[in-house]
Amino acid sequence: MIIGLVGRRTPEGGGYIAVGAIAASVAVSAYLFYEVLGMGMLGGQVVEEVAGFEWLPGLAPIEMNLLIDNLSALMLLLVSFLCLLIFVYSLGYMHLEEGKPRYYAEVSLFSAGMLGTVSADNFLQLMIFWEIMGLCSYLLIGYWYHKPEAAKAAKKAFLVTRVGDVLFLIGILVIWNEFGTLRFEEIAPQVGVLSPQLLTLIPLLLFGGAVGKSAQFPLHAWLPDAMEGPTTVSALIHAATMVKAGVYLTARSFIFLVPVVPGVEPPWIAILVIAVIGGFTALFAATMAVVNYDIKRVLAFSTISQLAYMFLGLGAGAYIMATQVSEGSAQVSTAGYSAALYHLFNHAFFKALMFLSAGSVIHAVHTNDMREMGGLGRHLPVTSKAMLFGALALAGIFPFSGFFSKGEILSVTVEAAADHPVFYALYALGLATAFLTAFYAFRMWYMTFRGDYRGHEHPHESPAVMTAPLVILAGFAIASGLLAYGMNGFGNLIFYEEPHAQMPLVGVPVLELGLEAASLGVSVLGILLAWSVYATKRIPAERFTATPGRAFVHKMLSHRYWIDDTYDALGAKVVYAFARASDWFDRNVIDGIVNAVGRGGMVSATATDVFDRQIVDGAVNALSLETVRTSWRLRQSQTGQVQSYAWVIVVGMAVIIALVFGISWFLRLQGGR
């Protein structure tokens, strides 16, 4: 199993090695998932610890272990399967690019990082692989490093996620300080030792890391720019896997959010913060997606928004669970938790599908701008159908997968509202987001595939190596919803992590017809609006910018609420002021010291110079002169006559032999006496 996990680190060469390695890890992961499923079906739980090595020995050694429980088995399968599909797709998409070995090395390292993250058994190990992913993300966004925008976007992604990572690191240090261990299952029973403040602080710090990685407000700014990388990278890292690591981390931090120790008050504030940030970001990102013209950026905003749904689900679920636990009720509902992870699962498939379809479109028309597309449905039949499936799933239309998971998250939010009224507001936000989601998904689809072609290229369908993964993913966009529902709800697959599996849990899916109908209804409304604006043009798009107020809203959304500009300005101001201060210090203090040292140096240099010329140089010159003379004399003995050399050898040999015999004779005389 360890070999299987290490196997995908073989980076060199073309993509075939990478594809082969990832296929092997898919097989391993599928086997693991099957095992876990078999043992953990219906209320059971399974934990497999693979003892690694002791990494930092000491009083409390830090070990590198593999932890395989329900949650990580699901993530392993999901990640490796998607990696496989995207690698295969890359064979076609990256066919004409330069530096393919670099690309495959980086994506392979990335998938190793992601798989390591989800199978880590302690926070430090998780952080290490987390950072590996951050590095690969940086490298891959900047894949076209000669493009200044790509290099800038890579830097931005790295720096913005760094803010979150620092919080994450602080969180880890606090955990270490409090518990003396970083392993999940050793921490879980001990959370009672924390003061209420720390219990609130730690999950918030961890959530800070998740916010950075999953591009939630206010650290969302990097993800849209990250679309400068190759589309496969966007699909792999910025839709399907890496950004999910934040959700995964928050799911892991349930050991703090919902303490398993009885009598410990759950950190309500932390839970609410998570839910509110999720709900807010969902709407916030969706509004920005509505006005964007770059096909990939629309998808990027949509990713942010969908990730926010997951956080909302986790927050609401944690609130319900925490309430039930603290009231000591006999059964604990895990609906929010499983709904969020269910959405993660579905979103990974349909968003990867949409990104890869977008990649196929870009491959055909060589532009990201949707204003230069249109009418591509005729030229790209497979791609357009695949994209339609993805858009339906994203919009949450029955029976596509998004319908089930999104509906479940919203239902959980309503359920949580019984415990805390804030969740009513969050439900409203979520419902509005669902409307906007459907609208922008179909705005994108109609602009790309319907109407008249507005570009200048000659589009053509992509090769089979690219369309095959699309078809598979399109199948999953339907099946992943029905599949899990057929198994009596995703909740019963119990993907909550091990410490909580001890509790009396029920995972009945929340499926209330009224709520489902509401979310379905707003989605249909959104699609209808998109249809009437962009397909039939019954409502002219200009009407949205007709009045100054509306134009202002459009401008605000196009500029992403000026948040990026604010960050830039803020960064520039602060850094510039700091630079000015440093400059002053430099000129007046450091330069003064340097100048004084310089003057002293000049005086001593003059003295040294005299000494150098007279004595050192004299000695050197004399030596070299003598060398020249000696060599001239020696040169006379080199006659060039081979036979005189032979004579010298013979005489020399004779002398040596004579000496050897003479000395041994002499010694024998001495010894004999």
Binding site: Q638, G640, V642, Q643, A646, W647
Partner: protein, 100 residues
């Protein structure tokens, strides 16, 4: 069975003949041949001691030395051929143009 002394004496004689040729003759080809004689004298030593101690490894070395000698002779002849082509002589006291 020939006594060891005889063989060693023959070998020493051959060696001296070769040494004389190397030191006294002017013609490069003759010098090369003399070197071969010296080499063969040492090979003879190998054989002599091999049969004296009943040890086959001396013969192995002899075969190896013969093989090396063949290669060496080939290289030497090629060198002299080139020298003859470029300078028109193989008189060793005239071949001194590699001197500084």
């Amino acid at each position: 069975m020939i006594p060891l002394e005889y063989e060693l004496a023959l070998s020493a004689l051959l060696f001296c003949i070769g040494l004389y040729g190397v030191l006294a003759r002017k013609n490069g080809i003759i010098v090369l041949m003399s070197i071969e004689i010296m080499l063969n004298a040492s090979v003879l030593n190998f054989i002599a001691f091999s049969s004296y101690t009943n040890d086959a490894s001396g013969q192995v070395f002899a075969l190896l030395a013969i093989a090396v000698a063949a290669a060496e002779a080939a290289v030497g002849l090629a060198v002299f051929l080139t020298i003859y082509q470029t300078h028109g002589t193989i008189e060793l006291d005239k071949v001194r143009f590699l001197r500084w």
